[in-house]
């Protein structure tokens, strides 16, 4: 069974690339290839020039590419927030003060200050996912790959994590954001849509939002709010089609 066929993708530091697709489109296979967990049958995957097939460089690749999965609970290993974040750097055998520095910085980056000693299972869903991201950041990756990081979260947790993704870009990380939610893709610079393992769209996010008529054919659903946005745009309301917040639509209507 071919999970991916001739897919190409580039991610630069300081940008967000969204990968969209229905279940079974090949998104998760792609995620596992980004840090060498899976190899490709053909074609090549390089991270800053390192071929992920080069087993002597596996550790370098894993340090450059942090991966965050859908279920935060699956990624938490320790009994306190700070121990959990320290787990990766400890495995690298780093000196204690360097570990401390990385843990403190990661906690600061994800906004979990004050919760250092908290048991992870007492955190909210959004806090747990931010903890998982902090664990990835403590490895000082240049790229962060996230596989549907918000799909198990409540609305509050979701907006916390989306805000964090924006700040990772601002801090110079390249972020690969895998999602099936069009509204979430609005955060990205570029987008790639996969359908049955093949690339059916590649381009700037603005172009994707202009191509919403094609979404059903790709197995993606136009969110109800995007249906409204399209009707309004067709009626002549001057809209920024990538901003699907209800407040933005209401404002454009009343202008």
């Amino acid at each position: 069974m071919a999970a991916l066929r001739e897919v190409s993708l580039a991610l630069e530091p300081g940008e967000i690339v969204a990968v969209l697709g229905a279940n079974g489109s090949g998104k998760s296979t792609l995620v596992r290839m980004t840090n060498g967990l899976l190899g490709a049958d053909s074609g090549s995957i390089t991270v800053d020039g390192i071929d992920t097939r080069d087993q002597a460089r596996t550790r370098d690749v894993r340090e450059l590419v942090g991966v965050v999965f859908q279920h935060p609970d699956d990624q938490i290993v320790a009994t306190s927030v700070e121990d959990d974040i320290a787990f990766g750097p400890e495995n690298l055998g780093l000196p204690r003060d360097e570990i401390r520095r990385r843990v403190d910085q990661a906690i600061e980056s994800v906004g979990l200050g004050g919760l250092e000693r908290r048991e992870p299972h007492l955190l909210s869903g959004g806090q747990k996912q931010r903890l998982a991201i902090a664990g990835a950041l403590a490895m000082r990756p240049r790229y962060v790959v996230m596989d549907e990081p918000t799909s198990m979260l409540d609305p509050e947790g979701r907006s916390e994590v989306l805000a964090l993704i924006g700040s990772l870009r601002a801090a110079g990380h390249g972020v690969l954001l895998v999602t099936h939610d069009l509204a979430e893709a609005a955060l990205a610079d570029h987008a790639l849509v996969l359908s049955k393992g093949e690339t059916v769209f590649e381009g700037r996010v603005e172009e994707l939002f202009g191509a919403t008529h094609d979404l059903p054919a790709w197995g993606l659903e136009l969110p109800p709010i995007a249906v409204i946005a399209r009707t309004l745009a067709d009626s002549g309301v001057p809209l920024n089609l990538t901003d699907l917040r209800p407040a933005a639509l209401a404002e454009a209507l009343c202008r």
């Binding site: 229905a22 279940n23 079974g24 859908q70 279920h71 909210s124 869903g125 549907e148 799909s151 198990m152 409540d154 609305p155 509050e156 947790g157 099936h180 197995g219 993606l220 659903e221 969110p223 109800p224 709010i225 249906v227 409204i228 946005a229 399209r230 009707t231 309004l232 009626s235 002549g236 309301v237 699907l244 209800p246 407040a247 639509l249 209401a250 404002e251 209507l253 009343c254």
Partner: protein, 277 residues
């Protein structure tokens, strides 16, 4: 016939310094053929309510009955099916058919009848037993696994089905299948769906219970929530996007006569109200 909770309260770690009231004076009732949507933010008491409705915990005060009998573990057994959030993580057997037959067997059904009940349930969730029955539950996609877990509950033929965030984490296609499965189940059972968002089931629900900090913030007809989504906003919840844009447009001065959930209609009405049509 109904599953009825009347004025129930529950306090965790009662009689200790850590006592924390999770529910205070909450009522809920659902009859076969009905869908009740329970909404609330994280920590509002949704999960406690669900455990009580499933007969897993007894309320400290108030009454809980199922078809007029007291609700407890024994009376709920087989009669109330509970689908946990992330239900697919509870699949365990070597083959899907064995996994789904586990519940009925556990209720004392003989092997042949349990297999038949399992086949029927797999059919009902859209996983043809001839194709999926012998597969490992771990070979399924996320959406398939979620439906398989629900089949395990439906195989016990419960009169009431309680589902915690049944569509969380699924893509559009998976959500659509899950939704039609829930609506199909309503034809012969009473269904309670618990969620932190009204986005998914508001249009189909009969009644809505909105919980806030363990108390009833609002309980009434789903159509009244559509007419006045402010009841959600007051409980720290977000109105579905389609309603929220209409609510905000009206707040900003547009004259909108009643809200609608259908996005096509909502879009046209908004364009019209704004003078663009």
């Amino acid at each position: 016939m109904s599953l009825r909770l009347t004025d129930i309260s529950y306090t965790y770690a009662a009689d200790t310094d850590y006592a924390e009231a999770a529910l205070r004076g909450v009522s809920l009732d659902v009859a076969p053929g009905e869908l009740v949507l329970v909404l609330g933010a994280t920590g509002s008491g949704k999960s406690t309510l669900l455990r009580i409705a499933a007969g897993l915990m007894e309320p400290r005060s108030g009454s809980a009955t199922i078809d007029d009998d007291p609700l407890d573990r024994a009376s709920a057994r087989g009669a109330v099916g509970l689908v946990f959030q992330d239900a697919e993580s509870q699949l365990f057997a070597d083959t899907l058919i064995d996994d789904v037959a586990f519940g009925p067997k556990n209720l004392g059904m003989d092997a042949v009848s349990a297999q038949a009940a399992a086949s029927e349930a797999l059919e009902a969730v859209g996983l043809a037993p001839a194709v999926f029955g012998t597969r490992s539950p771990f070979s399924l996609s996320g959406g398939e696994a979620r439906r398989a877990a629900i089949a395990g509950v439906l195989a016990m033929r419960p009169r009431y089905l309680l589902a915690d965030e049944p569509t969380a984490g699924l893509d559009a296609g998976g959500r659509r299948l899950l939704k039609s499965l829930i609506l199909h189940t309503r034809e012969r059972a009473g269904v309670v769906v618990v969620s932190h968002t009204a986005e998914e089931f508001l249009g189909e629900a009969d009644r809505v219970l909105v919980l806030s900090a363990g108390t009833t913030h609002w309980y009434g007809q789903a159509s009244d929530v559509v007419a006045d989504p402010d009841v959600l906003v007051g409980a720290g919840l977000v109105a579905p996007d389609v309603l929220e844009v209409q609510r905000l447009a009206r707040q900003a001065g547009l004259s909108i006569d009643g809200f609608v959930l259908d996005p096509d209609r909502a879009g046209r009405r908004l364009a019209e109200a704004g003078g663009w049509l």
